[in-house]
Point group: C2
Chain length 204, copies 2
Amino acid sequence: MSVRHALLALLSEGPKYGLQLRQEFEARTGEIWPLNVGQVYTTVARLDRDGLVASDDGEEPGPQKAYRITPEGGEELAAWLRTPPAAEAPPRDELVIKILVAARLPGVDVAQIIQAHRRHLVETMSRFTRLKQDAAEDDLGLLLVADAEIFRLEAFVRWLDSADARLRHHTPVAVPPAVPSTAANHTAASAAPARRGTGARAAR
Amino acid sequence: MSVRHALLALLSEGPKYGLQLRQEFEARTGEIWPLNVGQVYTTVARLDRDGLVASDDGEEPGPQKAYRITPEGGEELAAWLRTPPAAEAPPRDELVIKILVAARLPGVDVAQIIQAHRRHLVETMSRFTRLKQDAAEDDLGLLLVADAEIFRLEAFVRWLDSADARLRHHTPVAVPPAVPSTAANHTAASAAPARRGTGARAAR
DNA sequence: CGACACATGTAACACGTTACATGATTTG
DNA sequence: CAAATCATGTAACGTGTTACATGTGTCG
């Protein structure tokens, strides 16, 4: 719901039309977060439908269609600013899932994958560091968004290092001496929902 | 695309059916990342359609419908593990957008909002720390996912602190002495796409 | 039998992306 | 006028969530 409220915030500064919303959003996030136009139109149309925004429905001639925030929209915006992002179910992260998967898959060198991803993260971090150096020092949007991205990537690097250490300690368990390969399947099956119908009858 | 590939990975260990996929996904992410069933079915249906997975179409009686990975699916999985997550357009983050918005909005105390969010982040971090302490020490999935979340939240705390410092330096610029309030609108307007049609004619 | 849990699936919606279609306005 | 640009919008798809409908098996 970020874009929805970001557009609401832009409109709270005065009436704006579609492409203008996109451009101002991108300008204020240092051109780091692109925003496709289609989404602007559909999102602002939903805001309109929900009464948070109203359109000067083609009052002035020309193709542009300006939207302005409504009192309800202002209240919604203020409430959104106060509310911390939901944290009960943290977002599923691709990199984390990838390492979890790699750690369990036979024939996969997790440590190697971790290092490859680590290198990529460090490279990306330096890209954003360079971006900051080349930026105007008063471009607050760019500086803040670039910082956020650098901190985020740095957290992944730290996590990869800790995961590497953890996996080095635990991996030997997955390669026990002289244990039949079906053992892994059995433990996996015991964790699954009870197999009923055909199969379960034998177990009872 | 994380869930899609995570399901593919689960199926690479052997045939599984819908609810089983969900349960194993949640078990391996320490019950921290819930996965709704509806998505499992639609995702696995798409995997089937794309030939990465095939279904034992009701061979055994009973309601269950098992899927197994295909060779193409195995290749896709291996390629996915190698490829680092796309970083050209980093994900838009709600908290970051919120602070950016708050920093520009008149009548909003950014520092206060930052501190409120900071407190919430620290609380959430300790929730996950407790979760780790109460967990079985061999529950790798939970430990890794909880670590990832803790590192992520910690990065936000660091970012909030740096943003707080940055804004303390820059905020005075937004409150200049004796400057007409329309100045802000002018600069915003100059950054917008050229207003044409009715309005632009006067400017030329 | 009836209640309950297991299992599959669909519908509706929000959000996000890419691509295309359609006008209006400016510019060469 | 023709081409380029600005501006709005729609279509199709993927992903994610919530809710509902339906069927099947177990158990009191």
